[in-house]
């Protein structure tokens, strides 16, 4: 797929925005300003931007514990994300969710998810709903290679296949689940090989290559929207950082391995290409803009209060579905019987 310079700049902006936001989350964590832990996707940005960039704004995204990038790729603002991770009332979920439990309805973002593999059935349900409502939406279900060993993966892919749902299952295979190498717990080197068990297309792409990811996602999403059913899309990628903030990722990965992958940093390479294309001024300009957005977002988050007790209410959704809309029809039905 070809890209114009302005498009290339925007893609760079999206990836960098994720990278810098997560670096900032790391900084906030190190200062003890965040709640709980946080799982960063530093190094994996091309997956989020490549896939989401090939989708429509109202396509659903169901994310994982490592989901900040997926949300930002959807176009969500950084400030309420940082605020949420810092537990503030101005966060996307008023601080009730935290990093692993963030949904943003305005962006059809059905949530980061603390249960590994838990999102795949939910995404399948969103796809079923889209199909039944003929809304034309596609569901994008992100997960890691570790999650591909969970029963939910199997159950979700089988259902999506038999119902030919508009969904793309995106496996971000970063080679590790926490500190366990994939080969140790995963019986196939390529997760895409599992597509054969469901009679659906399985594709593996270089997750460090933005355009390759985007092209594969474009095809899978197009097929899904056209009624062609699900695709299992695997992106081989790597997290430069540790699993979570309590891990720096060095104990179980060889220096050289990390270094070799860093060589392939999608952001650095993309930036170099832009500079080579003579876009340095625009690059510097957007980089400066991102720094400003991050500074403002940080100040916004840290200046925000924590939610009041009132936020604790609402374990139950208050209103029941209005009977009005339906009475007449069911009235008729009751009569005919």
């Amino acid at each position: 797929m070809h890209t114009t310079t302005s498009e290339a700049l925007d893609l760079y902006r999206q990836m960098l925005r994720i990278r810098r936001s997560e670096e900032q989350i790391g900084w906030l964590f190190s200062r003890g300003l965040t709640m709980g832990t946080a799982h960063l996707s530093i190094g994996q940005e091309a997956c989020a931007v490549g896939v989401v960039g090939a989708a429509q704004p109202d396509d659903y995204v169901v994310s994982t514990h490592r989901g900040h990038g997926h949300l930002l790729a959807k176009g969500a603002p950084i400030a309420p994300l940082l605020a949420e991770i810092c537990g503030r009332a101005t966060g996307f979920c008023r601080g009730k969710g935290g990093s692993q439990h963030i949904a943003v309805r305005d962006y059809s973002f059905l949530g980061t998810n603390g249960i590994t593999g838990g999102g795949m059935p939910v995404a399948t349900g969103a796809a079923l709903s889209a199909k039944l409502r003929r809304s034309g939406q596609v569901a994008l279900s992100f997960f890691g290679e570790g999650a591909s060993n969970a029963g939910t993966f199997h159950e979700a892919l089988n259902m999506a296949a038999i119902w030919q749902l508009p969904i793309v299952f995106i496996c971000e295979n970063n080679g590790y689940a926490m500190w366990t190498a994939a080969a140790r717990t995963t019986s196939v080197p390529d997760i895409s090989a599992r597509a054969a068990g469901y009679g659906i297309p399985g594709v593996t792409v270089d997750g460090m290559d933005l355009l390759a990811v985007r092209a594969a996602a474009h095809e899978a999403i197009g097929r899904a929207r056209a009624g062609g059913g699900p695709t299992l899309l695997e992106a081989k990628t790597y997290r430069f950082c540790g699993h979570s903030k309590s891990d720096n990722g060095s104990k179980y990965r060889e220096r050289d391995e990390v270094a070799a992958w860093r060589e392939r940093d999608p952001i650095a390479r993309w930036r170099a290409d832009l500079l080579a294309a003579g876009a340095e001024p625009e690059v510097r300009q957007l980089e400066a803009a991102i720094e400003i957005e991050i500074d403002e977002a940080t100040r916004f988050a840290l200046d925000s209060p924590y939610a009041e007790d009132e936020a604790l209410l609402g374990a139950y959704a208050e209103t029941a579905r209005p009977a009005a809309a339906r009475t007449q029809q069911s009235q008729q039905l009751v009569e005919v019987r």
Binding site: Y60, G118, T124, G125, L128, L132, S330
Partner: protein
């Protein structure tokens, strides 16, 4: 007008009417054809077609999760778990997803989901097909739990459960399906969270739900012949509890007996509620009549010694009357 119908048919009618009334209502479950496992589906598959009656694979956690995702995005799914024992497989999607999504995502999404499931023993199915696990569910914040004891409640409560915007686990009882009772075609849905006083008396408050309710009523008859008058309360909704009705009754009678088919978890919660909030009005020790703390055996004679029988309930009431 009023007519008689079975518990099974009442459930069928509630599903049919709610599906006819709202295209968002869909049903997901295993083997929904030929009436489904217990005959509740009737002609719904022919009536509403494959887009709304969705046959799932044997994937309990998976299809409940599918129902959660559909509920978040505009549908009102009714998922059926063929035996409550299999709900053990779906507890993650029920507890960590359906029940939490509203609150933890700050109510940006609601999960108008009903999970229907048949519970209870009495048919010799054995340990993996006879359990009553509602004691777990009432401990899950965000869930509502309903368990009707007769056709009218089955229909009225299921309609309300489907219209509710919260995840509701709707517990049916295998032995109640053929039970018949009065149905009023013009009856309004029955609100969740309201218990029903089935009999009034001044001596003792006898509380139950589901299949055990009829046994409680029988016990009350027997006790009446002994000159003991019981308030018999059908909880109907196990979560949230109708504390007012329970406390008011115990306030009058001072004695409390709880009957359930499970191993005692629901009774423990109600008993604790009453001990905490109506302690002063108790004049005798509260009594729980529940299943023995063992898996449920298949052989009828053994099963009958594990699951509460009428005699156990009468004995429990006499025990309560003997006082401290």
């Amino acid at each position: 007008m009023s007519r008689t119908a079975t518990y099974r048919d009442a459930l069928y009618e509630a599903l049919r009417e709610e599906m006819a009334g709202d295209d968002a209502v869909i049903i997901l479950g295993e083997d929904l054809d030929n009436g489904g496992a217990f005959g509740v589906m009737g002609d719904l598959p022919e009536r509403f077609g494959d887009d709304r009656i969705i046959r799932t694979p044997i994937s309990e956690n998976g299809f409940v999760g599918v129902a959660v995702g559909a509920a978040m995005t505009g549908m009102r799914p009714v998922a059926e778990i063929m035996f409550m024992d299999f709900m053990t497989l779906a507890m993650d999607q029920i507890t960590n997803h359906a029940a939490k999504i509203g609150y933890m995502y700050d109510n940006q999404y609601s999960v108008p989901l009903v999970v229907r499931t048949p519970a209870g023993a009495g048919r010799g199915y054995g340990a993996s097909h006879s359990q009553s696990l509602e004691g777990w569910l009432i401990q899950v914040p965000g869930l509502k739990v309903v368990a009707p004891s007769d056709p009218a409640d089955a229909k009225g409560l299921l309609k309300s459960a489907i219209r509710d915007n919260n995840p509701v686990v709707f517990i049916e009882n295998k032995l109640l399906y053929p039970k018949s009772g009065e149905l009023d075609d013009n009856a309004a849905p029955i609100p969740l969270g309201k218990a029903r006083i089935r009999r009034t008396g001044t001596d003792l408050t006898l509380v139950s739900y589901g299949r055990m309710l009829d046994l409680a009523l029988d016990a009350a008859d027997i006790l009446a012949s002994e000159g003991v008058e019981c308030d018999v309360i059908d909880l109907r909704t196990l979560k949230p509890l109708d504390a007012d009705t329970l406390l008011a009754s115990v306030g009058r009678t001072g004695r409390f007996v709880f009957v359930e088919e499970g191993t005692g978890g629901v009774g423990a919660e109600v008993c604790a509620l009453i001990a905490e909030r109506s302690y002063g009005s108790l004049i005798g020790r509260p009594i729980r009549v529940a299943a023995r703390d063992t898996p449920i055996p298949s052989a009828g004679p053994l099963e009958a010694r594990v699951i509460p029988q009428l005699a156990d309930i009468v004995e429990g009431c006499l025990e309560s009357l003997r006082g401290v």
